[in-house]
Symmetry: C2
Subunit: 294 residues, 2 copies
Amino acid sequence: MNVRQLEYLDALARERSFRRAAEECNASQPAVSIAIAKLEGELGLELIHRHRREAVLTAPGEALVRWAREALAAVRGLTEEAGRFAGVLTGRLRLGVIPTALPAVAGITKELLSAHPDIRLEIRSLTSDEIVDELASFRIDVGLTYLDNEPLGAVTPIPVYEEGYLYLTAEDLPGESVRWGDLDGGRLCLLTPDMQNRRIVEAALRRSGAEVTAVVETNSISALISYVRAGWPSIVPDAWVALYGVPEGMSAVPLVAPEMSHSVGLVTRVTDLPQPLVKAFVESLDPPRVPSSP
Amino acid sequence: MNVRQLEYLDALARERSFRRAAEECNASQPAVSIAIAKLEGELGLELIHRHRREAVLTAPGEALVRWAREALAAVRGLTEEAGRFAGVLTGRLRLGVIPTALPAVAGITKELLSAHPDIRLEIRSLTSDEIVDELASFRIDVGLTYLDNEPLGAVTPIPVYEEGYLYLTAEDLPGESVRWGDLDGGRLCLLTPDMQNRRIVEAALRRSGAEVTAVVETNSISALISYVRAGWPSIVPDAWVALYGVPEGMSAVPLVAPEMSHSVGLVTRVTDLPQPLVKAFVESLDPPRVPSSP
DNA sequence: TCCGATCGATAAGCAACGTTTATCGTTCTG
DNA sequence: CAGAACGATAAACGTTGCTTATCGATCGGA
């Protein structure tokens, strides 16, 4: 049994292709073929259906890859810990982020990167559900998501900042703020219902008795803002405005009555042996940062 | 990085000797020397103080061996799982047992062994503290210990049987039972105070206001019973009597007022990915067994 | 139905690795 | 001071894992 075999198996499970798995591991396709065949021989099991066009794991393969990932995570932990002792933290920290928190991610990770220049970051935009999944299967190390809204999996939450909500429109607004109730009857552009931010907004509107029409739904906040320019107002997280500023010709005012906010923060796997990179990341947040423009 | 290197490191940490570590891994001493040197080279760290006579881990070594054990446990899990799918559960299940529960261990594991003849058992007599330690450092897989008395570590408890207490003496006893209070002023032979059973007995005596003299203290229950023969009564767990029967010329009666019992059971590491061998063991306990003579 | 693309398995050659036995220098012990 | 035990080193050897090149099989589109 070899660590390399486990890496191949993991990549194979993820990519469903010998070629792509080999590429991901910086190896040749036969290397993966042979290594997996040898692993199957050692274990006396078929791990992969080879007759199909798509390389799909068998039931045993599916079960075993979980252990492989567990082992690989430990090996990664070992390597990171070694780097820590050698004075330089190295390795790739894989971060899953919900779309609405993406503008905040640079501010949050700034300290970590400057303190440990050898760390590489991998940022992936994921839904909150995907974050829980990928954490559990060791495909990301840390998630950045809502902490207080919907049930999380078996994760350790670390609050980072409070997300507030702004009303963004192309009109000139008279006041300093808008009440949720004022939006009643409005025609808005909102995120798609599969995104948690949309569900948060819906709940706030419902609580204040406002009914709105979602004229446009999108899962991209950039698209959202472009629709605001085109005339449909929207509700956006304040972090986005902090990053881009208020676009020319638009106004952004806080939504009040009530002034709502939701806690956004990191989630990590629960473990009694924390990954050094993750530990360094969390410690670099001290004192807790709020998102700010660069 | 190689699984074999991690095995060597683990064995080295345990044995504090290159030679013994090599022996434990069925390898030659230079194999271990070279592998560790190579690992140190890869990580850029000194893992072991070599100048001393005793090979002792450095601080980084101590930290890294924890990750190594984590990885090795996952590899073991993978192997066991593979065996499960192949139809035969194989591997060694390492069981740590408090001395007073030793007579029960055969009864508890009987089902597992007959259901899976390829499983090998390793039974080690440990104190309850050691059980928690060795579980955490992956040196045993399951513990058999008291569940309800003193704080356990981060373990999952599974009750197995209730341990009751008998008064064992070489005299003829008139009644069917003895009250704890009746022992006041007695001269007994008891286990040493570092054993949890002794602390349980002390607490029971204190509660019923009885004061006794521990004429002989021992950490071996066999020695205890030999002293009973020699004339000093004692208090023994009922499991021992169930195994050996009441020795010739002695009497054993339950201690009552109150009739006390303590829960004895298995403890396992908390994990969301249970070891197949451990899982099979726990499932083999269904329905819960009580210790019985063979 | 056939051609081309893509997939994974196989073959052959090669370099690197892990292991062994034998031996050396050092350190603790009686 | 002699002997034993320890770990490092050297040399030799078999194995492993990797590469490139190629094959047979399968799927999709004209």
